[in-house]
Subunit: 221 residues, 2 copies
């Protein structure tokens, strides 16, 4: 697993042999099925998550059950917020759902904590990854709080095209609403408008982008 | 200035003498008047800000000029987001306004960058401070997105009582609206309701809390 861990963990070359061995022996590879909640807030402290395959969604949850997507994780991504108990500066909790069947490497919180204590480069990595996510969250917040819904939907669809490398997106209005932290009705209304404008074609459980140029224009509005 | 810097900068004892001297010689003390915008987004990279006296407000700004308060800074606080150009993981920009006449120690971005490059503990400090602010921002977002206005206003007033050590708050509805990232009308309406409930007494430019127990109850709702 050496090689793979060294790709995810930028501090790899600054570990001594014992530390490398410890990681090698104790990193756990596990498969998660789509729909599972992998990490749930404060009760949990799963550890550092490395995404080998699949897709995860990180979100925050209101007391009455509404959720707001903070960012999504794709192959190659590292999530440190699922080890928030290790980093004292993180005083909030997030939830993580599995969006597609996923293969995940986990480094337990206890192990990460031990390494962070004895090796400053591991601690720095933790806080740096957290700061990366801070940037993601600020971007999401700016979208939610400042941007018009049409622009946000256009940006969302453009990213989906990129992620799926296809103009045909298999996604429900409900799912889009979750990712965009808005109501399903709002998404449906806006998609109907996009369809009238000849930007998309809607069919059951599928959205096909038929005018990508027009969509791009909306993202730049 | 040694002693003071060592209180703000938790990496102080991990610096060598040259590094300490460099900080001592180049930290700048400056007074800022209330109302000034001290740091404005991307154009700027002021440096690391240490608050000696006064109060600052950090916020994000929409393209059409609305602003959302992220957190406030009080004496003893460190702000790293004003040196975002130094930390590559920070890809967003914030604005900082001076809320009260303030005395500020600034460590220039160039100096902080030099130290962070040659001393890993300085770099870690930077990312750790950023992660602290991430927690603040998540708290603010949870309030803005999830909490009812009456609870938020009650929490805000309780904090003001604590900060000012007084039940008499000299603050306008406009200012409260800014801090809470809501509209002035909303604040005025809610304060009127608080006043009818016997929680506060309103007078020109002043809010007096007359039933702190009732106010506390609202914060726990």
């Amino acid at each position: 697993m050496d090689k793979e861990l060294s790709r995810f963990l930028t501090f790899w070359n600054l570990l001594d042999d014992t530390e490398k061995e410890l990681l090698n022996q104790n990193a756990i590879v596990k498969n998660y099925l789509k729909g599972v909640t992998m990490h749930q807030g404060s009760g949990d402290c799963l550890g550092v998550v490395l995404v080998r395959k699949g897709q995860l969604r990180t979100y925050m949850l209101s007391p009455d059950g509404r959720d707001i997507t903070l960012y999504r994780l794709f192959p190659g991504d590292v999530c440190i917020l699922s080890a928030s108990c290790v980093l004292e500066s993180i005083t909030f909790d997030v939830f993580i759902d599995v969006e597609e069947d996923s293969e995940i490497i986990t480094i337990s919180s206890a192990l990460f904590q031990q390494l962070a204590k004895q090796n400053i480069y591991v601690e720095t990595f933790g806080y740096k990854m957290a700061t990366n996510r801070f940037s993601d969250v600020m971007w999401a917040m700016q979208q939610i709080l400042f941007m018009s819904i049409d622009k946000r939907l256009a940006i969302f669809l453009s990213e989906e095209i990129k992620n799926n490398k296809s103009l045909e997106l298999k996604i429900t209005h409900e799912q889009i609403a979750k990712y965009m932290a808005t109501a399903r009705e709002v998404v449906t209304r806006m998609l109907k408008y996009f369809s009238q404008e000849g930007i998309v074609k809607l069919s059951r459980g599928k959205i096909t982008i038929i005018d990508e140029t027009k969509l791009k224009k909306l993202t730049l509005k």
